[in-house]
Each structure stands twice: as C-alpha cells, then as structure tokens.
Subunit: 317 residues, 2 copies
C-alpha cells in the first residue's frame, strides 16, 4: 500500500500525460488500419472501370473475415507485393456480366482411354526433377517461346494474366545477374547467416557461388504484376496475382520437362528489387522466381528423396 | 502572425503533452515491428529441427528488405494464412547439406524434335478453358487419382509438399458444400454487395446459386498447409506454401485437361474456414481453391476472350 501511496499522487498530477500517451498509441493504430483499408476501396472502384471478362471464377475471401474466424490477428499489411489481393464483392458482382460467350467443347475419351492418358501423363511428369547441374549446349529460342506460350494459357483472377516472363539469353546480362545474386548470397553467408553456419558449411564445400547461372543457355525470371494500368492510366487491380502467376509457372515447368529440358525453381534471396531494375521492369512488377533452363549436365545429380504417396496428398470424401 | 501569437503560448504550456502523444505513437510503431519480427525467429529455430532435402532452391527475400527498397510500408501482418512465409538465411544454410545425391538424366531430343514437342504441347494446352457448365456423367476415380498424383510431382519450398487435395465424390457432402458456398454467396449478394448491384444483376439473371457444384462428379478442394508438424510435434515451417501449392495446381489443371475433363478455378468467397471444418481438415490447412471436375456439358459456353500475344508475356534480354 505504501507503494501505491507514493504512486497515486504522481498519477493524479500527470494523468493528462498518460492520457496523451494512450491517445498517441490509439492514433497510430487507427492510422495503420486506415492505410491498409484505403487501397482496397480504391481497387474496387478502379476495377469497376475495367470490363474484363474473368476466366477464373475467383471470388472474395476478405482477410478480415477469414482471419477473424481463424482467431488470427487482423492487422493487415498494405504491402501489396508480399500479400495476395482479395477481390471485393463489388468487383465480383460487376464481373458476373461476363460479356459475349461462345460454345466450348474438347476431345472426349472413353473411360479406358482416360485412365491410360491420365496415367501416362503422370508417369511422364513424375520423371521431372529440379536440377542444379546444367549443360552449356545451346537451345533453340523457338522452344523457349513455346514453353512460355504454354505458361501463358494459365487461368488468372479476372483474366488479368498478371505475369511477365523475362528470358535472358545475352551472356553479358547473365553474368550481371550472376554477379548480383552472388553479391547478395555472399552477404547472406558472411552476415545474415552468421559465422557458425559458414564454418559448418566449409567441409561440405557449399558457398555463395552460382556457376550454373552463366552456364545455362537461358535464365527465365518470372515477374508477377502486382497491379496493371488501364489505357486511361488508372491502376487496375490484379487479384490473386501471386497465385495466378504461380499456377502459370506450374504449366511452364511441365512444358520445360516435356521438351526434354531441366530447370531449378529458385527465388533470388534479397535480389528481387535489384533484378527488377537491372532487367528494366516497371514498378508494378515483382520477381517471383528465377529459373535457369537448359539440358542437364551429363554428370547431373539430384537429391535422393521420395515424394509423398497418394494417400498423404489426397483425401477422398 | 496573430494566429501564431495565439498558438505559441498554448504550445509552450502543453509541449509535454505533445511529447507524450508523440512518444505513444512511436511506442505503437516499435511494438508493431517487434511483433512482426518475432515469428520469423521462431520459424528459423523450428526449421533447424527438420532435416528435409530441398528440391526447390527456394531462398529468402525478407519482406523488410524488398519492401524497403520498393519504398513500401514495412508493416507486416503475422497472419501466416494470408501471407507467404519467407525462409530465413539459417534455414537456407542448414538446408544446403542436401544429403545423399543420385545421378539424374532425362530423355534427350534433337532440336527439331524439341521444337515439335514444345509446339504440340502448347497447342494442346492452349485448348484448355475454365468451364462453368458440367455434365453429370460419372468419371472413374482412378483418373482423378492420376490427376492428383501429377499435381503431387510439383516442386516445393524445402520439399515440404505443403498441399492437400480433398476429392469430394459423396453427393451428400457435395450438397453440403454447395449449401455452404451459396449461403455465403447469398450474404454477399444481399449484404456485402449492396442493393444497387443486386438490382443491376437481376436482368442478367446472375444469382448466388452454384448448381454445378451438385452436378459434377467431383469437387476438388485444394488446401495449403501453412505449417507442418514433425514427429516430435514441433511446428515445421512451410516456406512459400502458397506459391508451392499454386504451382502444383498448375500441373493439376494440365492433367485435368489432358484427360479430357474440365474444371473451374474458383476461390470460395468467405467460406474457407467453414469448408475446412466441414471437410475435417486440421488448423494448419487453409483453402486455396475449389475445383469442380467433370466432362463439360454439351451446351457449355465460355467467355469469348483472347489471351495475350507472346510479345506481351515474354521479354527477351
């Protein structure tokens, strides 16, 4: 009680200051939620200006709603680059006027033929592996173009096709990209990872070097377009830009494999923004993946691991 | 000057309050950045406990670093469900000890053969379209299993394979899912969208109804595993769980098309958490997409749109 007796008068004297302190904190919170809500409103409006027909029936799951029911903090970042955009109901409602439609049909197979085709497709694609050892043999650009065309058939939120595939064939540019990546990697090894890890890695011989980047005939840098621009210069929201771009990359990977080439699904550590500048891509694009593409080296090695069996991937209801 | 003359004394008297106000704001900022950094540290530790071999050479691009250079707010949500996890350098360093390796080689084709294969693959996949009109004809489960197996060949961050494909064949369960989705959609139409939109949509005839959900032989609900659990019960971080799962969906879509079936890439609006509970999936899984799969209806229609030409998708350097 003695302690309280000492504190009480202090509080009585300075309660206004505590009030101001609290007010400042609250203001900060309010300001934050404001700054994270505003963009969404603007998107809804700008989307209403676009008459795009959606291919994907992508709908809205407001982070607030889902996070609330999952009992997770509802603090929302306004960094569109690290988070998926979520369509607003307005966008959805507007978008249901899907304009002109045309009949659609595809090749139809009997049950046995379907079973055979689906199994053959699986067996072929199951041979695909990510590879770090490439041959320097040239690959016709026409093949890479067909592979990127295949990726371009992916569905996307509101059919925005929010991807850009930068294909680097110029040896000088490949060298610059390798320098840039190794530069960041060196910092990762020397600073971000700490001396202990670097020491542990010495016997294994792993370093920050990425020789394959100048060996392969092509480097494909995949950009997602966080937002687009209408002819009138208005921002056009690209909902699900990361999911859409990643789905198209899945198609790219199968196309690469089907052509008899290999790649490595990698994300440039910390180098994204510098890569964007080096490759002269606009500010609305962000690097998602960097894929070296070529023939595998004769002595190519891959990690000896198994994939999950079907019963760990699929649940039947 | 008269105005300043009035304000000056006010400031002189209450400067301490303004100081406290500022202090409160700053404290809020500090507290926020604290709460957004903590989780990353924890992830790094838990990941160090896992000896998984990475297939994808997925590396770290800390949001703070990238956002800073992109001049975007560094506010970070800790809602792992709406944001990709980013590996820490520790995870990366640890993981470079990629264990046992084995030789790898794939079928090798001549230049002309490669051109032919890559073009044929593109031409086949370019016929794929998202479809909203399905036939109720049965499809062998074996075909769906092969399609999901194909999706399971996708690369993933640290080879965590962070996806679960729930295949719903039971008519009763399909009806429950349709009810759940339409229930949310009705709210979207009646509340979230506002009366104006609903009125505008009446002439078009679009409603909150999703009849195809009970027509198709299968509904595939795709879950991403936001984190995994080690045998010892420790949380295992799933880096890039959304990118990895989306890449595998890209493979799923091509497998569906190759088998002569169609689907619709859709995300259940607000229904994710309820779907997870209905399908009895654990708390570490979140719905990414809902894909009805079957034969197209005879009178199936698709929006009449074009895809971007290659020069809008690919940039050669």
């Amino acid at each position: 009680m003695a302690g309280l007796g000492q504190i009480a008068p202090f509080i009585l004297t300075y309660w206004q200051h505590f009030l101001a302190l609290l007010l400042g904190y609250v203001l900060a919170e309010v300001f934050r939620s404001r700054s994270s809500n505003k963009p969404r409103k603007i998107e809804a409006i700008s989307t209403d200006k676009t008459g795009i027909v959606r291919e994907a029936d992508i709908q809205c799951e407001p982070p607030s709603a889902s996070t609330a029911s999952e009992k997770q903090p509802t603090i929302k970042t306004s960094d569109a680059a690290t988070e998926e955009e979520h369509p607003s109901p307005e966008e959805d409602a507007f978008d249901l006027e899907s304009g002109k439609h045309i009949p659609y049909s595809i090749e139809r197979y009997g049950e046995d033929e379907m079973k055979k085709r689906s199994q053959e497709f699986y067996l072929e694609m199951n041979k695909r592996r990510s590879v770090r050892y490439f041959s320097n043999e040239p690959v016709p650009l026409e093949v890479i173009e067909n592979i990127v065309r295949t990726a371009g058939t992916s569905p996307s939120g509101a059919h925005t096709e929010p991807w850009t595939y930068v294909v680097v064939a110029d040896p000088e540019m490949k060298a610059q990209i390798r320098d840039l990546i190794e530069d960041e990697e060196r910092v990762n090894y020397e600073k971000r990872m700490g001396q202990k890890w670097v020491d542990d890695l010495k016997p294994i011989g792993t370093t920050w070097k990425k020789p394959y980047m100048t060996t392969v005939p092509y480097l494909i840098i995949v950009f997602k377009q966080v937002y687009g621009l209408t002819d009138s210069g208005h921002r056009k929201t690209h909902y699900y830009h990361e999911i859409s771009t990643s789905i198209s990359v899945g198609m790219l990977l199968l196309a690469i494999h089907h052509a008899g080439l290999v790649t490595l699904t990698s994300t440039p550590m910390n180098a994204g923004p510098r890569l964007r500048v080096l490759l002269e891509r606009p500010a609305n694009e962000k690097v998602v993946l960097l894929l070296p593409v070529g023939y595998p080296a004769e002595n190519a090695l891959v990690p000896d691991f198994k994939r999950k069996p079907l019963d760990e991937v699929m649940v039947l209801k």
